[in-house]
């Protein structure tokens, strides 16, 4: 059912989600700025070819589009997407000493947000019986690939969060 702003999500849950999205966006921007400053990897569009060869997956949010918003499906896709990004960020481990703490913080904040969504799905009784398991992650075989992967993952995550923010903003109402 296409839901207008009327839905059974608690306002405090939505406000927390909006705050968490902003926090993760800030973490992501920090990572992007450091990758640019430290390793001169500043433009994801220069890494499209590498992205293809590394096979970095993207997370769909089709159930969250404002034209065809499907709440349960949207929450599920939000959770799966965040869960995917947790895995991608973990695969970046060892990216470089300068970036390690930034990636760790980003991963912790994504994990917190994933937990919040899962808990809300449980409260609504729409959570799958089993927590999802992580699919195969790209294998970064060099320091450069981890850094380039960092740029691509951060850039994809920012656009994912942008779409998530729009639907959460819509659900939270004016």
């Amino acid at each position: 059912t296409a839901l207008g702003p009327a839905h059974n999500l608690p306002q405090s849950f939505l406000l927390k989600c909006l705050e968490q999205v902003r926090k993760i966006q800030a973490d992501g921007t920090e990572l992007q700025e450091r990758l640019c400053a430290t390793h001169k990897l500043c433009h994801p569009e220069e890494l499209v070819l590498l992205g293809h060869s590394l096979g970095i997956p993207q997370a769909p949010l089709s159930s969250c589009s404002s034209q065809a918003l499907q709440l349960t499906g949207c929450l599920g896709q939000l959770h799966s997407g965040l869960f995917l990004y947790q895995g991608l960020l973990r695969a970046l481990a060892g990216v470089s000493s300068e970036l390690a703490s930034t990636v760790d913080l980003l991963q912790l904040d994504v994990k917190d947000f994933t937990t919040n969504i899962w808990q809300q799905m449980e409260d609504l009784g729409v959570a799958p019986a089993m927590q999802p398991t992580q699919g195969t992650m790209p294998a970064f075989t060099s320091a450069f690939q981890r850094r380039a992967g960092g740029v691509l993952v951060a850039s994809n995550l920012q656009s994912f969060l942008e779409r998530a923010y729009r639907v959460l903003r819509y659900l939270a109402g004016p």
């Binding site: 406000l15 927390k16 705050e19 800030a26 919040n116």
Partner: protein
């Protein structure tokens, strides 16, 4: 070995409790006559004990000290040997109290260090080496049940605060936290706090700037000031409300308050003030509408209103 102390009531006792100790002198202690006198020395004071012989010729002296009024003392067992006094053995006596219940436990989430720092009042001194441990766990209900464990947080020696690192925290879930105090005489546990880290974020004050006239900034009207502000950068991801207070620098006027204000603005004209008067302005912010604490007031900004 000629003799030694057997302390009956433990090396560490409660301050004020009596201590009983006995010292035995083996009959095999060759240099010693059968009826040699055993003496006790507590600190610098000699005392006699009750001395008797055991069937095998061993001499035993027992002493009961009504109450130890020092938290630490040396108790020595002497033997009179000719006209000298010989130390046979020495015991360190410690006295103190079991730990009081730690109280006033409070926690703040620090966005710079990303730690949850908790502090508490340890209560009166126990005179004994007492270890404090900050215990906590993640809970998905209001701290009735544990969802995830968190490693114990051991404060640095003598400190009554401890910081739980970000990696053990879930910022938007409940954390049950309490303090355990332990020494040789016992253990005590503080009441448990149940809090959500992101609700106890410690906000640093916002920053206030005056706006100098420039192409983009027209000079303020008489009796007005132009300023801008931004809440503490690491907290910008939080929705916040802020309040501004101002008063003329001179005189004893009380603060006037302007509230609520957005956490960030590039140009704000504050009017209704006395013309050509020097004003002191301060601002503070708070996470809102989600729960939070007020930051401290920002350092003062001094601005003078335009002349009529």
């Amino acid at each position: 070995e000629c003799g030694r102390i057997i302390s009956l009531s433990g090396p560490v006792i409660r301050l004020g409790d009596p201590i009983t100790a006995s010292c035995i002198v083996n009959h095999t202690c060759s240099h010693v006559g059968p009826k040699s006198e055993i003496l006790w020395k507590l600190g610098t004071e000699f005392q006699a004990g009750k001395q008797h012989s055991l069937p095998d010729g061993t001499q035993e002296s027992t002493i009961t000290l009504p109450h130890l009024n020092h938290s630490w003392a040396l108790l020595a067992c002497y033997l009179r040997w000719g006209d000298s006094l010989q130390i046979l053995d020495q015991a360190e006596l410690q006295a103190g109290y079991p730990p009081a219940i730690p109280y006033n436990l409070t926690c703040l989430m620090n966005l710079t260090t990303n730690n949850l720092t908790c502090q508490w009042e340890p209560g009166p001194s126990t005179h004994l080496s007492t270890n404090f441990t900050l215990k906590s766990f993640v809970s998905w209900d209001n701290c009735q049940t544990q969802k995830d464990s968190i490693p114990d947080c051991m404060p640095e020696d003598g400190q009554n605060h401890c910081s739980i690192p970000r990696k053990h925290l879930q910022l938007y879930q409940n954390v049950g936290v309490w303090v355990e105090a332990e020494n040789v005489l016992g253990t005590s546990v503080s009441p448990q706090l149940c809090l959500i880290p992101s609700d106890v974020v410690k906000l640093e004050p916002p920053t206030l700037w005056g706006l100098d006239p420039s192409p983009e900034v027209t000079p303020p009207q008489p009796g007005c000031l132009k300023l801008r502000w931004e809440s503490w950068r690491p907290s910008l991801y939080m929705d916040q409300k802020c309040e501004l207070r101002h008063r003329p620098q001179l005189g004893e006027a009380s603060w006037a308050l302007v509230s609520p204000l957005r956490p960030k603005t590039f140009q704000h004209e504050l009017c209704g003030l006395l013309p050509s008067t020097a004003y002191t302005l301060q601002m503070r912010c708070m996470r809102w509408p989600l729960p939070g604490h007020w930051s401290d007031w920002s350092p003062s900004l001094e601005l003078t209103t335009a002349q009529r």
